[in-house]
């Protein structure tokens, strides 16, 4: 394994346009660590440009020519090991590969499947049989999916979505992502080895988690002990049960209690080291900012460079969530004034257990605003009485178990949202978005959106809007209860609205969609191809506007206009909710929607969609996010709609 790159190498690679993502992250971390680093970098840029000007013997290339040349040059930095790459080139087996560019990527790509002895790879969200892997097999787990490696000695390694690794028996090389290993006792001299780009973990029999973002790595041990060796300086450390170690470039190599912060614990509130968030020092990766219970008046804008593995955390102390109240402030976003009660910029963040209220500027002040973040996880937050609830722009955003309600302002009629997300990937799970004033519950401008097990209730002007763009859009709605308001403006009959000319797929599995007005149209699909399975649509017979809409075994009201692509739909006088008047949309024992879908998550059962159709291209799987939410069991026969009642 090569040593970690030094700053001069990173700068030089950057100047030559050869820096890969991991190198870029390392360069940025180095730059933000010290003003002198920024000057060193910029002087190198200055020299580089001066040499280009003084030495250039011919006119600069035209833009078109330069682009063509770059295309011919192709990839410059390989991310796979030699063995993995060779295996990928030689064998190249892909499981469940999407056959069209408009469809989402595969759950799992495997290069190097084999009938020979070796660990077996099983996807965790389908019935596809496990397959043996040969030495050097390269495995990529797609977003929203999961997989497990099963060894004959009982060892197992669970792979998170988005992980990439190569597998040679008991030697795993994790390029990026996270794995959880439970390793049976290994014979002396034959350890189980997990390598990341900057660390090697040697295991003799234990239970541990290993994660890497390609620059730094985290090792957390649940049982037993492991040896960790850092690449480059060969520094070694033993990590025991209940301990965790972060392996960084040049940082101290130490282990600490797994439940302690990777950085500093900074307490904020009256009588604490910091009275307000404004008094905090510059935040570093792994820092945890803990607000004490009570009301914190004001609004704050924080910029920090947390990493994927060591995000900066802003959380409420145990007990009642502290309230950030921005009442009386005009959060204009001008200059240093934030446009939110809590505005977080850049890097990776985690926000937990906070209440936020009264963020206003008459148009678009948010409770929480994320600006150009690399990654953010918001959980257990309650936001109310703001112009906007959560306004997120970034690469990867996850929002879980949050309650956002009563937001909106007349100054932005139709443009207020409880949740607005502009990201590469967004996951919204287990949230309550409700009573949105003057706008919709959720607007997404994401290449990939997963809405799982949410309650989306009573927005003034439509429930969900999905904006498409140049990149194909994948939107997956699964296990959600979506209920429209009875008090909507007459001119708004949209429920799920797709805007824009972009292509892609909208998949609805097991949602309960309730319209309070018979004129409402549930699906306005735009150019997205829609596959809807096992959903309940009630309150309106207008299921979908024109478009490529397919469905299998959905419940529709009697007399509904059934889309031509719907098969085996079910209808009755009512879907049989327990107590609709009281907002209980679970299914009564005699509901006709009970046990009507034979394992809607299965790849092959019931063959609901013919090959070549939209549904035929989609995975029949339980999204990993829904599976983890535990909101419904995986049973042989499932109920229609968002609730599984046995």
């Amino acid at each position: 394994m090569s040593p970690p790159p030094d700053p001069d190498s990173l700068i030089s690679a950057h100047l030559d346009g050869e820096l890969d993502d991991a190198g870029h992250r390392a360069l940025e971390a180095w730059l933000l660590a010290d003003r002198a680093h920024q000057r060193r970098f910029l002087l190198a840029v200055m020299d580089h440009r001066a040499m280009a000007r003084s030495l250039a013997a011919r006119p600069a290339l035209t833009m078109r020519t330069a682009r063509l040349m770059r295309r011919r040059r192709g990839l410059r930095v390989a991310s796979w090991s030699g063995a993995g790459l060779a295996a990928a080139l030689i064998i190249g087996l892909t499981v469940l590969l999407w056959p069209t560019g408009a469809a989402p990527g595969p759950h799992l790509q495997v290069a190097g499947a084999s009938a020979a002895p070796g660990p077996r790879l099983q996807m965790t969200d389908t019935h596809v049989p496990a397959q043996r892997l040969e030495a050097g097999a390269a495995v990529t787990v797609a977003p929203g999916s999961g997989a497990v490696l099963l060894y004959d000695d009982g060892s197992r390694v669970d792979l998170d979505a988005g992980s990439a690794l190569s597998v040679t028996g008991t030697h795993l090389t994790l390029q990026h992502g996270r794995l959880a290993a439970s390793v049976a006792h290994q014979a002396a001299g034959q350890p189980f080895i997990i390598t990341t780009p900057n660390a090697t973990v040697t295991v003799l029999g234990t239970m541990l988690d290993v994660a890497t973002d390609g620059v730094e790595s985290v090792v957390a041990v649940t049982r037993g002990r492991v040896a960790v060796e850092r690449s480059g300086d060969a520094a070694r450390l033993e990590v025991g049960a209940g301990e965790r170690s972060v392996v960084t470039v040049g940082g101290p190599l130490v282990a600490h209690a797994a439940d302690a912060p990777d950085g500093r614990l900074l307490r904020v509130g009256p009588g604490q080291p910091f009275a307000t968030l404004a008094e905090l020092p510059a935040l570093a990766p792994g820092d945890v900012v803990e607000l004490q219970p009570g009301t914190h008046h004001g609004a704050w804008r924080l910029a920090a460079l947390g990493t994927a593995l060591r995000p900066v955390t802003i959380r409420g102390a145990p007990g009642a969530p502290p309230l950030i109240a921005a009442e009386g402030l005009v959060l204009s976003g001008a200059g240093t004034v934030p446009r939110a009660a809590l505005q977080l910029e850049g890097g990776h963040w985690r926000v937990q257990h906070l209440a936020i209220a009264d963020a206003h500027n008459g148009e678009n002040a948010a409770g929480i605003r994320l600006v150009e973040v690399r990654g953010a996880m918001l959980s257990d937050c309650r936001i109310t009485r703001c112009d906007q609830g959560i306004d997120a722009v970034g690469e990867r955003v996850a929002i879980e178990d949050c309650d956002v309600g009563g937001c909106g302002t007349a100054g932005a009629q139709g443009r207020c949202r409880a949740l607005s997300v502009f990201a590469d990937e967004a996951l919204v799970r287990g949230c309550l978005l409700h009573d949105q004033l003057f706008g919709q519950s959720l607007r997404s401008t994401c290449a990939r959106l997963e809405l799982v097990a949410n309650r989306i209730i009573a927005a003034a002007d439509g429930e969900i809007s999905i904006a498409t763009g140049a990149q194909p859009t994948t939107a997956i709605l699964s296990g959600n209860l979506i209920v429209s308001s009875a008090a909507r403006p007459d001119n708004s009959m949209r429920f799920i609205l797709v805007e824009g000319e972009g292509a892609g797929v909208l998949q609805l599995i097991g949602n309960t969609c309730v319209a309070a007005d018979a004129r409402i149209v549930f699906l306005i699909p735009g150019r997205l191809a829609v596959a809807a399975d096992g959903n309940i649509f009630t309150g309106s017979g207008r299921i979908a506007e024109a478009g490529r809409v397919e469905g299998y075994r959905n419940w529709l009201p009697s007399g509904a206009t059934v889309p031509a692509g719907f098969r085996d739909s079910r209808s009755a006088a009512a879907p049989g909710f327990r107590d609709e008047a009281q907002g209980d949309y679970s299914l009564a024992p005699d509901s006709p929607c009970r046990n009507t879908v034979r394992d809607m998550w299965s790849q092959d059962v019931d063959a609901p969609h013919a090959p070549g159709t939209v549904g035929g291209l989609l995975p029949k799987r339980m999204p990993a996010a829904l599976n983890k939410a535990g909101s419904r069991a995986r049973t042989a026969r499932t109920d229609m709609g968002a609730f599984e009642d046995g």
């Binding site: 840029v45 020299d47 833009m63």
Partner: protein, 172 residues
């Protein structure tokens, strides 16, 4: 835009251009992409020139517009390639402005230092900067591996930096 404003904008932009171009190049190493960002910056400045407050430095305003153009490009192309984050772009913009006073002296010192580069080093710089070749295309011409070319380029740049600092007496 009135002719007088047009003339004033042209004058201000001409003065600011080298500095803005350098800043954009620092954040966007691909030349054609940097050209696109620079062009977008100029168009935005021209379109919004009526909003410019002449009591404030034009270059600071232009740098802010360039930073937003870079970040917008990063967002629009985020799935294709990583770029600097907003905090990094802000920090580099501030540092870049601080360095502008030394730019001319540094350029002269670099020219002196380049005279001291001969042999294989000179060949390498010629292929990289005169021919605009990437390391993997330089490698076969010099009978080296691409990795060796990258290492040699890195050392050459570090050596030139040290030479310039010595000539300038560490003033940068």
């Amino acid at each position: 835009m009135l002719d007088a404003d047009q003339e004033r904008f042209t004058s201000l932009w001409t003065q600011a251009h080298p500095s803005i171009a350098g800043y954009v190049a620092a954040l966007v190493p691909e030349r054609s992409a940097a050209d696109d960002v620079l062009q977008e910056t100029a168009l935005t400045l021209l379109r919004t020139f009526a909003e410019y407050d002449p009591s404030r430095p034009f270059i600071a305003w232009a740098m802010g517009v360039a930073r937003i153009a870079v970040l917008t490009r990063r967002r629009d192309h985020a799935r294709a390639r990583s770029r600097f984050s907003a905090p990094a772009a802000v920090a580099l913009a501030e540092a870049w402005q601080e360095l502008q006073p030394v730019a001319d002296d540094r350029r002269h010192a670099l020219a002196e230092c380049l005279r001291g580069v001969a042999g294989r080093g000179r060949e390498l710089l010629a292929l990289r900067y005169e021919q605009d070749l990437p390391p993997q295309d330089i490698a076969p011409r010099l009978g080296m591996t691409a990795v060796a070319v990258r290492v040699a380029l890195c050392r050459l740049r570090a050596g030139l930096h040290a030479c310039i600092e010595k000539r300038l007496g560490g003033q940068a």
